[in-house]
């Protein structure tokens, strides 16, 4: 059923690429990792190798278009997500990217990940933030799977699984 919704979302996206939903949604998730910030940042900023730390990603294909950098994520469930790198700031240890198109039931998705030292010595806090809209872009009634709740649930799942595994990988477990 979940897959069906995901497929439905892909099928609908080209038709509805105009106005986004009226109310933006957000997800913010954090994890504390027992590793040095530089080590964690090296994993996060490596835009072309997300499969190294995200358990849902099977492989990552990096693409350059002029000055712009994109990646095509192929997911283990067969879905794909095409993303654009907005910035990777070594000073602030902040990565910004957006989804161009893909199988997540979201629209106009933009995100940033920050890596900060602390709270304890030798620890790092990673925060993943997303702002996006639901897929459905017309007046109600809103079809199941294209509403705000589905969008938030999908992004929450991606962040929770990703941060948990990033912790594992960075801590070398």
């Amino acid at each position: 059923m979940k897959k069906l919704f995901a497929l439905l979302a892909i099928a609908l996206m080209p038709l509805t690429a105009a106005a986004h939903g009226p109310s933006p949604q957000k997800v913010e998730k954090s994890v504390t990792i027992k590793a040095e910030p530089a080590k964690v940042w090296a994993l996060v900023k490596d835009f072309g190798n997300m499969q190294k730390w995200h358990p849902a990603v099977a492989n990552t294909k990096l693409e350059k278009k002029g000055d712009d950098t994109y990646r095509l994520l192929t997911l283990k469930d067969g879905g794909t997500i095409y993303e654009k790198l907005r910035s990777a700031d070594d000073g602030d240890m902040k990565l910004k990217y957006e989804i161009v198109e893909g199988s997540l039931p979201v629209a106009d998705y933009n995100s940033f990940i920050t890596v900060k030292a602390g709270p304890g010595a030798g620890e790092t806090t990673v925060t993943w933030v997303g702002r996006f809209y639901r897929v459905y872009k017309l007046n109600p009634p809103i079809p199941a799977g294209q509403d705000d709740e589905s969008a938030v649930k999908a992004v929450t799942g991606v962040y929770d699984a990703g941060l948990a595994n990033l912790k594992k990988v960075a801590e070398g477990k």
Binding site: A18, A19, P22, S23, K26, V129, N139
Partner: protein, 312 residues
């Protein structure tokens, strides 16, 4: 002129003003005393409140609740909702005519502007505009209603006596917020997707475009019309444009994903709703310094004219 100025100064010392901040996530409105920087009331409204229009003469504030498809009418004396108007679409942008007799409502998905009679609270007509109408603003003489058509990349100018679209002015990519200079000579359209603001001469429709920060949303001019303050949602900042030279002269860090922004003449301060942080940033307009952060409800948007000036 001197007489007029001293009169308004005197009036200001008597006046209080309040910011009505829509909180999309908590389905309420935070009322901030703009002098004390404190929330003095929290008013439950409909679902997903976004747009605001305030009327000192009616003693009312109108709130668009996009997810419940209603407009809440707040009585500013009691700070309570006294009416709920059902609208047939997804209301986002709101604006009042200067005499407060008409409330204009942008229906985001139906590509229409609805006209509500504020005495009967009924939708009396609808006007077809461009795609995804967002920000609305009415000229000071009430004669023109400007509509930012987000997905048509233009601003529609509606003649309010005929209620017809008189012209459409091409702006940047995806205009969202609109603002006017106090004298009405300049219209500001904030173009979300190409990170710019269009400054439009309202007589000639000629425009200049200025680059600002990442994904800007809304703008507000200072009282003297010399500076324009613009929220940049994805760079968590406010750009300050010097209007005569058409240049960005300052960038002020605020909260994450700032959206609505208004200039408060009574305090000479700028109020910015930070959607992600659930706060309102207060900027001293005289020196561009961030002077306070006020905790609000969840996902503050404050889209439109959200400052209510009250004379006592």
């Amino acid at each position: 002129m001197l007489c007029f100025c001293s009169f308004s100064l005197a009036a200001n010392s008597w006046a209080g003003s309040y910011a009505y901040i829509t909180n999309q996530g908590s389905n309420d409105v935070s009322v901030i005393d703009t002098a004390a920087h404190q929330v003095v009331a929290t008013i439950e409204v409909g679902m997903g409140p976004v747009g605001v229009a305030t009327s000192a003469s009616l003693g009312q504030v109108f709130i668009s609740n996009v997810d419940s498809q209603t407009i809440s009418v707040i009585d500013t004396g009691s700070n309570q909702v006294i009416h709920e108007i059902a609208v047939p679409g997804s209301p986002v942008g709101l604006a009042l005519s200067p005499d407060s007799k008409k409330l204009y409502v942008a229906d985001w998905f139906a590509d229409k502007v609805l006209v509500v009679d504020t005495s009967t609270l009924s939708v009396e007509r609808s006007i077809s505009v461009g795609k995804a109408p967002a920000g609305l603003i009415v000229s000071q003489d009430g004669g023109s209603l400007y509509v930012a058509n987000r997905d048509s990349d233009d601003v529609a100018v509606i003649n309010t006596s005929t209620m017809q679209v008189e012209r459409r002015i091409a702006v940047g990519s995806h205009p969202f917020g609109l603002s006017l200079s106090r004298d009405g000579s300049k219209l500001f359209a904030v173009n979300v997707q190409d990170d710019s603001v269009s400054i439009i001469d309202t007589r000639t429709s000629q425009l200049t475009t200025i680059k600002v920060g990442d994904h800007p949303y809304c703008a507000t001019p200072s009282r003297d019309g010399k500076r324009l303050f613009v929220t940049n949602t994805q760079s968590a900042s406010v750009s300050v444009i010097d209007i005569p030279s058409r240049k960005v002269v300052n960038t002020i860090a605020v909260g994450e994903y700032p959206e609505g922004i208004n200039y408060d003449a009574a305090s000479d301060r700028i109020f910015v709703a930070n959607w992600f942080d659930d706060t309102v940033s207060v900027i001293d307009a005289s020196n561009n310094q961030l002077i306070a952060s006020v905790k609000t409800g969840s996902k503050s948007r404050a889209f439109g004219q959200f400052i209510l000036e009250t004379a006592h």
